[in-house]
């Protein structure tokens, strides 16, 4: 819980988190391309500053809800890379014992209440978790991640309004990456920024450069303080961009190569590295060391996950209901 530019240790942590997200997803992309991974995947490469800045402003015991594009949220909240990789590789040791896969990872121990395969599915859930904290006299906050596309679901409207009228300790975080699958925000909404919608619910709406981890942190810190002190939610909009297609089947027909490369030029990780060096927080050798550590960590995670036992079908029927 410190500004990513406040001291070398925090800067290092923020950088390592962003690299972990990037390298994790590159590994997933590669395993997929080689036919070693099943199902479908939604990668958040290019968006790493958003979950990293958000989670830096949270306490360990605060909670998040996540989305189909959730690897970054999971990692930023502290999930174990090996168990995540094991889940994606359909292993018994994965977070969901192979039952959920990429779109359903939860890690209740680190406050991750779960990714979601349903667009906007997590927004009411985050609101309800915040209600529970309020009812139990807990001073925890929920950070609720969703995409720009989710804002057009009825669930967004209903849940955000509940959060506002009950002044719940939740921060609604829209990761506006300009597209919901192939549909651009220019076409999907008649206002320019998602944050403008906040006015209709009577809460602050803030738009920030979602590729600037420090800017995300600062906006989030204010929103968290407000939520924790009982003043209610904020709608925070992190403007960002996904470099990869929506999922494995995307031919990118709805956007131009120029647009993609323009955003690749605004790499949130490279930008942060430049800033920490300029601020004298880390040297180039520290940065090289962070990169190297992350690569080693990822290799170990893939190796360990690969050697774990496959998910076991024998007790599927016993997995449906919780036992009393």
């Amino acid at each position: 819980m410190a500004h990513p530019l406040s001291d070398p240790a925090t800067a290092r942590q923020a950088l390592a988190t962003m690299w972990e997200i990037r390298r994790f997803e590159e590994a997933v992309d590669d395993l997929f391309a080689r036919g070693l991974m099943h199902g479908t995947m939604h990668l958040s490469i290019g968006q790493e500053a958003s979950p990293t800045g958000v989670c830096l402003a949270l306490r360990d015991d605060d909670a998040i809800t996540s989305t189909h594009r959730g690897h970054g949220h999971c990692i930023a909240k502290g999930a174990d890379l090996t168990r995540m990789m094991a889940e994606l590789l359909a292993k018994e040791t994965g977070y969901c014992r192979g039952r959920g896969g990429s779109m359903h990872i939860a890690d209740v121990d680190t406050g991750n209440l779960g990714a979601n395969g349903i667009v906007a599915g997590g927004i009411p859930i985050a609101t309800g978790a915040a209600l529970a904290y309020r009812l139990r006299g807990d001073d925890k906050v929920v950070a609720c991640f969703f995409g720009d596309g989710a804002v057009n679901e009825g669930a967004f409207h209903e849940a955000v309004n509940l959060g506002a009228i009950w002044k719940l300790p939740v921060v609604y975080i829209c990761e506006n990456n300009k597209y919901g699958m192939s549909f651009s925000t220019e076409k999907s909404m008649a206002v320019e920024n998602v944050a403008e919608k906040a006015a209709g619910y009577g809460m602050p709406g803030v738009t920030v450069d979602g590729n600037d981890v420090a800017a995300v942190y600062e906006a989030m810190e204010t929103a968290v303080a407000r939520a924790r002190s009982g003043e209610g939610p904020t709608l925070l909009e992190n403007v960002t961009y996904r470099w990869k297609g929506h999922s494995k089947s995307d031919k990118n027909l709805y956007r131009t190569r120029d647009e993609i490369s323009e955003w690749q030029g605004r790499d949130p990780i490279v930008a942060f590295e430049t800033r920490v060096v300029e601020a004298g927080l880390l040297g180039r050798d520290d940065i090289a060391a962070v990169r190297d550590e992350v690569v080693q960590k990822l290799r170990a995670a893939v190796r360990e996950a690969n050697s774990a036992p496959d998910a076991d079908p024998s007790d599927l029927l016993d997995s449906v209901y919780a036992s009393a």
Binding site: H38, R99, G100, G117, F183, K187, P313, L316, V320
Partner: protein, 331 residues
């Protein structure tokens, strides 16, 4: 190559039906998520956007309730909308408009209005998309009076049943199995109709009747080949539409063979084949049974992600063969 021999994929057959319906009738239009330049999540709408433009192939925001409701309203006001819901799981977002509105309007209004709309959606497992993208919810829709429910199992039916659904003055839910989209079969080029409510006899045999829906039809046919090698002569019947249900050919075939195996992908508990079992039990076909009615269904679990778990969750060809052999032994 004659017209009869032309083979196209199930997805192409759906697209061809929509294209022909839109050419023939200005009232027909399509709306759904990513059906424009993306061509649909499963590539079904394909080039329809280029052919008919953004007014008639309308890309929408991610707003299933709004989309289906807009179709209900447009249908009431004289149009013939075809909604694509990206995965049938997301009909859950739109249930008010499907169940409380579309299904009931004609009846509630004493026949004063009609809702001639089609809702198409892919269902089923087999793609590793896990529990929220793999369900088979057909029995829910079939349970609601006022909806018609179609499950095409072949490319030909994907076209013929869809054209009939578009003509129909009622809301019709067409559930397309996502594993079938890339399968091919002979499909006539002309805009032919396959009437809703006609069970298809896919194969005729003397010893055992298998009734299967959706992707289970082709699995049942494959199992029938294996069973034939074991000396078991199998009929395979495909109801094609769950509502209206054409039960007579099923009762007749069961009366002839004396044995029936009902196969569906959906969980067995309160599933569609329970209805077929009940209809058999209520009919004189019951007296002709040589063994108890047997159902083979998906496990009563959400669909898991891991491939080995996912395939264990729903009937596969060897499971159908085994169930068939057991039935024969029991009789």
């Amino acid at each position: 190559m004659s017209d009869q021999d032309r083979e196209i994929s199930y997805a192409e057959a759906v697209r061809e039906a929509i294209g022909q319906a839109m050419e023939a009738d200005d009232r027909v239009f399509m709306l759904g998520e990513d059906i424009g330049v993306y061509g649909g999540a499963f590539g079904v709408s394909g080039d329809l956007f280029e052919r008919f433009g953004p007014e008639r192939v309308r890309d929408t925001p991610i707003s299933e309730l709004g989309i289906v409701g807009a179709a209900v309203g447009a249908a009431l006001a004289g149009m013939r909308p075809i909604v694509e819901i990206q995965f049938s799981d997301f009909t859950n977002q739109a249930m008010d408009q499907i169940v409380n509105q579309a299904a009931k309007i004609h009846f509630m209004l004493g026949g004063a209005a009609e809702v001639p709309m089609v809702l198409r959606a892919p269902l089923g497992s087999g793609t590793g998309a896990a529990a929220q993208h793999s369900q088979s919810l057909e029995a829910w829709f079939a349970h609601v009076p006022g909806l018609k429910v179609v499950m095409p199992a072949t490319a030909e039916d994907a076209k013929g049943l869809l054209l009939a659904a578009i003509d129909d003055p009622n809301p019709v839910i067409v559930l397309e199995h996502k594993l079938l989209y890339r399968t091919s079969g002979p499909v006539p080029e002309e805009a032919f109709r396959t009437p809703l409510g006609q069970t298809a006899v896919r194969r005729e045999g003397a010893d055992l009747t298998i009734v299967a829906t959706g992707v289970m039809v082709s699995r049942a046919l494959e199992a029938a080949e294996t069973l034939a090698r074991d000396g078991v002569d199998v009929s395979v019947l495909d109801p094609r539409t769950l509502t209206p249900l054409d039960i007579e050919p099923i009762l007749a075939d069961v009366s002839r063979t004396g044995r029936v195996l009902l196969v569906q992908e959906a969980p067995g508990h309160v599933g569609f084949t329970s209805e077929i079992a009940a209809r058999i039990a209520e009919s004189p076909a019951l007296y002709r049974l040589l063994a108890p009615i047997r159902r083979l269904s998906g496990l009563d679990i959400p669909i898991p992600y891991a491939p080995q778990l996912e395939s264990a969750a729903v009937p596969q060809v060897p499971d159908i063969v085994e169930a068939g052999l057991t039935l024969i032994k029991e009789s």
